[in-house]
Symmetry: D2
Subunit: 164 residues, 4 copies
């Protein structure tokens, strides 16, 4: 039977230290909830940190890779899905997640939040980027949540999962 998948999106090479810490913690708690973690699968930034966190709690991790080759995958990814479709794979990330969490901000992450809203998915933002906290909720008040801590993210995710 279909498992609950929670997507954690965020910057790769340019992730901040806070984003990495949050991502690790998010991955860990997602695993502890019995949820499956989905990320962009690469061995950098938020993707890697979240996957490492999930594995620290024996979770199951999926990586949706932009390329077609095994190099560059996070070692903490269990299930590697190779799309070979570059950034267009961001749409698969959000369509496959019951809840999307944006941890940090960047161009790829912004595209995922926008695609999530377009696809009518719930997105939770955990970031200190003030402009994004203003822009996205206005774009879709009903789909975008602003969280101020990992705990807040998880509580919001739980209530979204429970209401589905």
């Amino acid at each position: 039977m279909r498992k609950i998948i929670i997507g954690v999106m965020g910057p790769g090479e340019k992730a901040k230290e806070t984003d990495l810490q949050n991502a690790y913690e998010l991955g860990k708690i997602i695993a502890q909830q019995g949820w499956v973690l989905l990320t962009g699968g690469r061995n950098v930034g938020v993707m890697d940190a979240a996957s490492q966190g999930a594995k620290s709690a024996n979770g199951l991790t999926i990586g949706i890779l932009p390329n077609d080759k095994a190099n560059g995958i996070s070692e903490a990814v269990d299930i590697a899905i190779f799309t070979d479709m570059g950034n267009a794979r961001n749409n698969i990330n959000i369509l496959s997640s019951h809840v999307v969490i944006a941890c940090g901000m960047g161009a790829g992450t912004a595209s995922e939040i926008a695609l999530a809203v377009k696809g009518n998915k719930k997105v939770i933002l955990l970031t200190d980027d003030v402009e994004s906290q203003v822009f996205f909720p206005k774009l879709s008040p009903e789909n975008v949540y602003i969280a101020d801590s990992v705990e807040d993210v998880i509580n919001t995710a739980k209530s979204i999962v429970d209401s589905n």
Copy 2:
């Protein structure tokens, strides 16, 4: 030899009257410049208005459709490319455009601006949405331009095309 393609992105069903007028005007001037117009191809909103504008000046129009069927295409589209990949086709829109113009704002448009920045494409915003005018230039000061009129958009597009 490869023609210059200018992409005009913007809301569909939810486009404002000003966006539609701007889109029509943009399409017309793009055609007059000898450029090819690329849009999302549907028969609504900015896509349709820009395509109509381009045809009014005998331009060539391309529509990158999200579905696989001929229904719902703008009658002003000459070349219909069917992707059957939903919103993931937004990435093709921006990769295929020499310059991307965002005319108005919405979730799909926001995803295209973000994907353009991610793909290192130049994007020109023509919108009265103040929050997007703050968010996107901060995301990428080097790739995002804010324009305040159709004329301003075209002048910026010209200088980008000329510098390539």
Copy 3:
């Protein structure tokens, strides 16, 4: 750490009884080997039968869906990946599989075998369709294997997995 994924491809609505029996048996043995099963994820034909077989042996099952909605998914799919890209998702199926097994024959299956060959993946054919047994090995003698039983498929898959 990345798990071994074996893809089982085959007809949906038009699958023959033999294909369904083979698919169930393949899914079961794949799970018993400790491998993860990947299919097209729908609740019909070879996809469904293979997934049911894998679950009968407590395996992990992934479904790469052509659409973006939860309806039509096999109940035996654990991890549902929604691509919303129609038949273009066939390329993801083969890129994500360490070994591709074609169980039965049809247009979608033929596209997957061809894409596998194009992507330099090993494919094992288990089908009574004689013409495909002639066409595909000629297309790529080094990538296409013809098997005459489920046992033969699994032995070939093992040797491919071991040699990687």
Copy 4:
């Protein structure tokens, strides 16, 4: 108004001399009919030859590229659509063509024929590969045509276009 697009698919680097000659001739006559030519867009093999042929008769040529960069494009392509989705772009090739012509045979071409059949498109085969002439018509007697000359292809294409 939407133009008629004819897709010519065939091998790249491995194309035979006969395939190249046929492709050039096909491109030329397609242009003379007032149809738009669609190919995979690269500067090799059947894609390049067909595009060159179309340009020799002042036709309009579209290339659906597998990558995201301007290098490797046929100089005879007018409209370059960058998909950055590798072989999955083959599905866009066939969905966007009113009629698909397979000129020569190879793994990529075989995937396009199979995807065309799956997508219920008409495909005309012009190849000396005997096995494909047996396999594909059996896969779909109603969608696959075997032609024995460029003239035969064009006559068949005309009757398909006229009947739509």
